[in-house]
């Protein structure tokens, strides 16, 4: 049975596990119809021209967790930012693990989607924000139909989450192939501030497909910092859909560090709905083997005096393929927009491929928009310079690659996280040097 049919027919079984009288259930029922109609995207669609899901859709995924699985903290400690005091929302095979988590309801809400969906206390927020900005395409609708669990973060007016929030999804590999569909909702009210670190991690080599949807609402003057660490093992595929709604003078930044995984697709959309907004999209991709990472971004400028900054760096070795598809739309009302987009890539092998498509769609005249894209190699002269000074070839190459990605890393505001990412990069480049020189 094809995955699509399997999912559609599983919806009935899924309904038995949730409250069908809740208002959200109408949204789910509608969404499954949309998914049935639209299905999974194919390469015939312009936005999916360079990424085919065929290879990962053919597994016989179990579509929702059968049993609760537990993990010992000591076994998975290394996946946490354990040297930093954080709130933690941890899921094992799609189920919430209270044992590993640390949530709060003190002034701010850092808790679960399932409880937010079932408690009256959160009804208004859910009504106002749930499924409001995610486009009604096949993948989002699929996630919406099965939306049940995920992180729910609500920061009221003038509050600051005093420590960062970690969201971690583990898959234990008890099933031979598993599909996960986390659904996150993050609402940050006026003048509030939050830092979030998200990670997907599978613990065995069994196939995992994650189709995640995150909706983020940043109200006036809110500040949202979001870090995505994508360093999963090579049988795990991730489709990460993140949609951000920004009101006046808010600042939202999303950093994506893509080092692992089989096929990773990031759909990252920013919708600016006020003046004086700043949107920041950063990414570092370092992949090899047959890995495939696709960054598909959209920044939609609708009001005057806003900015957006995109900076994506990619290093591709062996048979890896990278895709960057960035789009900036500037409506005619959005005068004085400053929008920048840059995509730099290094190919280390003749088998590696990069497809880059930076697009601008501009309808306003008084704007400064630019994009740049480069594809090149490491500079042989610089390499020679370092080697002549006694730095080994591997290390010299690694240093240069690190330097290439560095200006993205510098924008990471949590020092412990930056250290962790430095280590991940050193690991990925197979060298034993600390880059925090």
């Amino acid at each position: 049975m094809e995955l699509k049919e399997k999912l559609v027919s599983s919806f009935l079984a899924f309904e038995n596990t949730v409250d069908v009288d809740a208002p959200i259930h109408d949204i789910r029922s509608h969404a499954i119809k949309v998914f049935e109609e639209k299905g999974f995207p194919t390469k015939k669609e312009e936005a999916w021209k360079y990424t085919s899901l065929n290879t990962i859709l053919k597994h016989d995924y179990s579509v929702f967790p059968k049993e609760e699985n537990a993990l010992e903290f000591k076994d998975v400690k290394k996946y946490f930012l354990h040297d930093l005091d954080t709130y933690k929302i941890v899921f094992i095979d799609g189920k919430y693990s209270s044992h590993l988590s640390e949530t709060t309801h003190d002034k701010i809400d850092v808790c679960l989607m399932s409880s937010a969906l079932s408690h009256d206390k959160y009804k208004l927020v859910i009504e106002n924000y749930f499924n409001k900005i995610a486009p009604q395409d096949g993948l989002n609708s699929l996630n919406t139909a099965f939306s049940k669990e995920g992180a729910y973060i609500y920061i009221p007016k003038n509050k600051q989450a005093e420590k960062p929030i970690q969201i971690i999804h583990f898959s234990t590999g008890k099933e031979s192939a598993q599909m996960l569909q986390p659904r996150n909702l993050i609402v940050v009210e006026e003048n509030s501030h939050v830092q979030i670190i998200e990670r997907h991690q599978s613990l065995t080599d069994n196939a995992v497909l994650t189709n995640s949807v995150t909706e983020i609402f940043a109200d006036k003057r809110a500040i949202v910092d979001y870090y995505k660490i994508q360093n999963d093992n090579q049988n795990a595929s991730l489709i990460d859909n993140t949609y951000i709604d920004q009101q006046a003078q808010s600042v939202a930044s999303v950093h994506t560090f893509a080092f692992g995984g089989n096929i990773t697709r990031n759909n990252l959309n920013f919708y600016q709905k006020g003046e004086g907004i700043d949107s920041i999209l950063n990414g570092v991709t370092i992949i090899e083997g047959k890995q495939h990472v696709d960054h598909n971004t959209l920044v939609h400028h609708t009001e005057p005096n806003c900015e957006s900054h995109q900076d994506y760096k990619g290093i591709f070795d062996e048979k890896a393929t990278g895709v960057f598809n960035g789009k900036i739309i500037v409506n005619k009302e959005a005068q004085k927009t400053n929008a920048f987009q840059s995509n730099n890539n290094i190919l280390l092998s003749d088998k590696a491929t990069i497809n880059s498509k930076p697009q601008l769609e501009i309808f306003a005249d008084d704007v400064k928009c630019s994009h740049g894209c480069t594809i090149g190699q490491l500079d042989e002269n610089a390499l020679f310079y370092m080697r002549s000074r006694g730095i080994g070839e591997k290390e010299a190459r690694a240093l240069m690659m690190y330097a290439f990605a560095n200006n993205v890393l510098e924008s990471v505001k949590i020092p412990q996280l930056k250290n962790r990412i430095n280590k991940l990069i050193a690991n990925k480049l197979n060298v034993n040097i600390g880059f925090d020189l």
Binding site: A352, L360, I362, D365, G376, Q377
Partner: protein
């Protein structure tokens, strides 16, 4: 009173199409519609060899199965392909030896266009093969070219006299099934130019052809084939103006360039088909397939100034097949009122050490939409390929749009690709800087717009630069010059 950008905008909006006129010449036109019989009839009319008829029919059968492409960033009412007459030739079938025999009415037309044949013959050294509604009616300088062994004639003539060359190369770069419009063109093309430069010959003059659409409701399907043999050089010019018409006219041309080892082809276009009036009514649909093939060490350079047409859909491309081959693309696309342009290039790097340069300047005014769409593809065998692309857009007013859709695909680690795009308007600080130095606003705008497009204008051959400048004036710069 100071000349401001608003004034310029107003001027642009009200600027009428200056070359809009219609010459009344009897034409012999086929019944409207398209089927196998029409294709056969066109072929028969042109006394083509059997293989050519078959080639056309094959293209027609492919076309029938194809669908019109919809991916371009343009909106228009699709033409009804069964409501077009696919062949029209001026009735007084001319075979002139000298210019005196040409219908005086025609000559007058050309005079209005600013091309005096006599003058060009004497002064400019340009051989003009004029295509008026599909059939070539005047050819000059043929003898001079013939001495060098250069063949420059209409494609129907080439089919009669050099069928082996046509057979060998036609469809080799743009196959019949390439795309919807190329297939249509292959089936029904009525005429066009053919050019062959023999080995080691440097063509002594700029070759140029003027295309015109003259007959109401006649689609024009030009087919151009330029072959530069080993070590040769040719510069080919093509310019278009069309009379004002209210109904949409379809133009689906195919241009194929073949640059053999060590040769160079420079292909320049000034396109000024009728863009429709200020309300966006009428105007020419320009769906063109242009592509060149570069063998070892060869170079193809496309230069285009696009100011006309209601809809432009055009991507002059280079296939850099041979090692060390070079492709260049220089373009200015100006859109005004309701014009829509989706234009750009494709650079396909197959050979080693291949280089390509793309400079594209888009200027949008009024309610127009101007898109750049380009592909740079580096194949895995194309070691040391180099590409530089720059796409700049200038917006005038906030009712127009500028779009960039670059596709960059690299499969080789030694590839070096740079792509840059900017969008801006004429900056107040730029104007201020000029004003401060005693340059009035009118001159300053002229200076900036000229400077913006200079990189491309400079690439045009002398003979064309003047005309291009003129066209820019009409479509954009107004009194600014």
């Amino acid at each position: 009173m100071a000349y401001t950008e608003d004034d310029l905008k107003k001027e642009l909006e009200t600027k009428e199409y200056e070359y809009g006129f219609y010459t009344d010449i009897e034409s012999d036109t086929f019944p409207v519609g398209l089927n196998e019989n029409i294709v056969r009839a066109i072929s028969k009319k042109k006394e083509e060899p059997e293989w050519m008829t078959e080639w056309r029919l094959e293209a027609f059968r492919i076309w029938e199965k194809m669908e019109e492409p919809e991916w371009a960033n343009v909106n228009y009412k699709k033409p009804d392909f069964q409501n077009i007459s696919y062949y029209s030739a001026p009735n007084k079938k001319p075979k002139y030896n000298s210019i005196d025999e040409v219908d005086p009415e025609l000559l007058e037309t050309f005079e209005k266009l600013g091309i005096s044949l006599e003058e060009q013959k004497k002064l400019a050294g340009v051989a003009v093969d004029i295509v008026m509604d599909s059939v070539s009616v005047a050819t000059t300088f043929k003898e001079t070219l013939a001495e060098k062994g250069i063949i420059f004639c209409s494609i129907s003539e080439a089919l009669q006299e050099h069928p082996e060359l046509v057979k060998k190369y036609i469809g080799s770069v743009v196959p019949q099934k390439d795309n919807f419009y190329a297939a249509l063109n292959s089936a029904v093309f009525s005429d066009g130019s053919f050019c062959y430069i023999p080995k080691g010959v440097r063509c002594p003059m700029e070759l140029s052809t003027y295309f015109r659409i003259n007959q109401a409701g006649t689609g024009q399907f030009e087919r151009t084939l330029v072959i530069a043999d080993q070590g040769s050089y040719v510069s080919y010019l093509e310019g278009c103006t069309a009379p004002s018409r209210d109904e949409n006219q379809l133009h689906a041309a195919v241009v194929e360039l073949i640059a053999l080892d060590d040769s160079e082809i420079k292909y320049s276009t000034v396109q000024n088909w009728y863009p429709g009036n200020a309300e966006g009514k009428g105007g020419v649909f320009n769906f063109v397939t242009k592509r060149g093939l570069c063998e070892t060490n060869a170079k193809i350079s496309w230069t285009q100034v696009e100011t006309g047409s209601a809809i432009t859909w055009k991507y002059p491309s280079c296939i850099l097949k041979g090692d060390h081959s070079v492709g260049e693309f220089y373009s200015i696309a100006v859109t005004n009122n309701y014009q829509q342009a989706d234009t750009g290039t494709k650079m396909i790097h197959l050979g080693k050490n291949t280089k390509s340069t793309i400079i594209s300047k888009g200027i949008s005014a009024g309610k127009s939409q101007n898109s750049y769409r380009g592909l740079v593809q580096i194949n895995s065998r194309a070691t040391n390929a180099r590409n530089f692309s720059q796409c700049d857009s200038l917006l005038m007013g906030n009712e127009c749009g500028a779009h960039t859709f670059p596709y960059i695909e690299a499969k080789n680690k030694t590839a070096q690709i740079e792509h840059e795009a900017t969008t801006s308007k004429i900056g107040e600080d730029q104007l201020f800087y000029c004003n401060q130095r005693g340059i009035d606003t009118e001159k300053a705008i002229a200076l900036i717009v000229n400077g913006f497009s200079k990189e491309v204008l400079n690439k045009l051959p002398m003979e064309f630069a003047v005309e291009a400048q003129k066209l820019l004036e009409i479509s954009l710069e107004g009194s600014v010059g």
